[in-house]
């Protein structure tokens, strides 16, 4: 049973959310009785952005609440979608009359719970719309399945739609740009080591000392393929190759690149991965407009990396560069 720096598995989320707000008490607020972080002084007179999901992905989502990004974030139990009543509370707390956009990652649980919350909010006369992020190329996309998972690409939706909302756009415009990001963002990830959910005794999967898992999601679930341990460059070739081929990203495209650590990966290894990603993109003539290296969408202490590309047009570039209070997205 993997050791953790926690007090009580049943209280981790609550205590974590308290700790998040205490780190920035002038900017953030916790809703009483809920694991919800909102901007201090909410609601604001603008379209509000709300996201959330299971906990364990920190800094996602609560860490992205702030000017220029989210207005509110709901932290469900670890890797478990929050319940509709909690999402509904968040919506009510941040709605300033111009409507609320929910940014939902494509998981059955998240989609259903957010949909139920939206129904509740609409019943109270709040204008609510939602987008579903599904950037994970590891999962085959098909009409007959639940489709692709939403992973690290979600951060770009938060940033760009957040900037749009901050600029005073109306709900349909904010939704439109969010959907543009979703259409242009792709991710693939891998794990060297799994993670353990605090309330569980074991990790969700185990890997031998010469095995890695490709195509992992962000909930500790096994990936789509188990292979031998490879060199970092080979792993990056594999991940970034799948991402590039998907849309596909082409010569002359301007992209944002995110090298995302899964929680337990040392920064050293992320920079090493960034090096190879840069080499590949340069070879292909794809221009890196902006690079993000660090932990953005994690899976507790999982060791591994995901690589995200977002193909940018002028509007997205401007919104990506727009000011935000969130340091790691500057």
């Amino acid at each position: 049973m993997k050791k953790k720096l926690i007090n009580n598995p049943e209280k981790v989320v609550e205590e974590m959310v308290e700790g998040i707000v205490m780190a920035a008490p002038d900017k953030l607020e916790k809703l009483d009785d809920y694991n919800i972080v909102i901007r201090k002084g909410s609601p604001n007179e603008k379209v509000a952005l709300v996201s959330g999901g299971g906990s364990g992905h920190e800094p996602t989502h609560a860490g992205f609440v702030g000017e220029g990004m989210l207005d509110g974030a709901i932290s469900g139990d670890v890797f478990t979608s929050p319940t509709p009543d909690a999402v509904f509370e968040a919506i009510k707390a941040v709605d300033g009359g111009k409507g609320v956009l929910l940014v939902v990652k494509n998981y059955t649980g998240d989609v259903m719970n957010f949909e139920m919350a939206a129904e509740m909010a609409e019943a109270e006369g709040i204008e609510v719309d939602h987008v579903v992020v599904n950037d994970d190329v590891a999962v085959e996309d098909s009409l007959y399945t639940t489709g692709r998972r939403g992973v690290a690409g979600t951060i770009f939706v938060h940033k760009i739609a957040g900037a749009k909302a901050e600029a005073g756009a109306e709900l349909p415009e904010v939704k439109k740009v969010a959907e543009k990001v979703i259409a242009n963002v792709r991710t693939k990830g891998m794990a060297l080591y799994p993670c353990r959910v605090p309330a569980a005794e074991e990790s969700t999967f185990t890997l031998e000392e010469d095995e890695i898992e490709l195509g992992i999601g962000i909930h500790g679930e096994p990936g789509t393929e188990r292979t031998e341990l490879m060199k970092a460059d080979e792993i990056v070739d594999e991940l970034l190759g799948s991402v590039i081929d998907d849309i596909p990203y082409e010569k002359g495209d301007d992209v944002a690149l995110m090298i995302n650590g899964m929680g337990g990966t040392p920064l050293m290894e992320l920079f090493l991965a960034n090096r190879r990603a840069n080499q590949i993109l340069e070879e292909k003539g794809i221009n890196i407009y902006k690079t993000f290296v660090g932990e953005y969408m994690t899976s507790l202490e999982m060791a591994g990396v995901s690589i995200t590309l977002l193909k940018l047009d002028d509007e997205m570039k401007e919104l990506l560069d727009a000011p935000t209070e969130i340091n790691i997205m500057k």
Partner: protein, 205 residues
């Protein structure tokens, strides 16, 4: 009737809580390893709520169960089971259950789950336990079986349905991300559904 229903719900809750680790283990193989944790949290709360209050009728009782599951379970199973119970609360009679009303309960549960989750039979979900179970009841009715016989068949078919998920490839829910790797494992939601159906059957006859 409410006392009897309360007892059944209590039994369901106990069985789920007892099987917390088992359900979680199943979910670790093809999901994210929380199904037992989620369900236990929900049914513990259900027990608390039921202890604290008396209910006028089955409708009120089951609605409380539904709302409690919806607001505590989270994940995929929370809204699915929650919606199922919410649908049931709308039609549940306060009298003794005859075969017809049991079938109606089953059908409305399936309808709720399908409305929310948009899955069909054969996608390796809880529906693969529940649909065959309801079908068995209908079959029994057509054959003129007794309620006892019908319930017995229902339980058998539920179990068969649950076991049949082992060989299925998931196309809905988290297990679908695994593609072919989902084959060979029993679905956790199908298992919790079986545990519930089994409990109801054993309590009713």
């Amino acid at each position: 009737m409410t006392e009897k229903s309360k007892k059944i719900i209590n039994e369901i809750a106990d069985v789920i809580i007892e099987n917390k680790k088992y359900l979680t283990k199943l979910d670790s193989a093809i999901g994210d390893g929380d199904h037992g944790i989620n369900m236990t949290k929900g049914f513990k709360k259900v027990k608390e709520k039921m202890e604290a209050k008396d209910y006028e009728n089955n409708k009120e009782l089951i609605k409380t169960v539904a709302m409690t599951l919806i607001s505590t379970v989270g994940g995929a199973s929370g809204p699915l089971y929650g919606t199922a119970f919410l649908n049931i609360s709308k039609i549940i009679p306060d009298a003794d259950f005859d075969l017809e009303s049991i079938i109606e309960i089953g059908e409305t549960a399936v309808a709720g789950i399908q409305k929310r989750g948009k899955a069909e039979a054969g996608e390796k979900t809880m529906l693969d336990t529940i649909i065959p179970a309801v079908d068995a009841l209908k079959e029994s009715k057509k054959n003129g079986d007794s309620v006892e016989e019908a319930l017995q068949q229902c339980k058998i078919k539920a179990e068969e349905g649950m076991k049949a998920t082992i060989d299925m490839q998931a196309t809905k829910g988290r297990a679908s991300y695994l593609g072919k790797r989902s084959i060979g494992h029993q679905d956790p939601g199908a298992t919790s559904s079986y545990l519930m159906i089994k409990t109801v059957v054993e309590e009713l006859y």
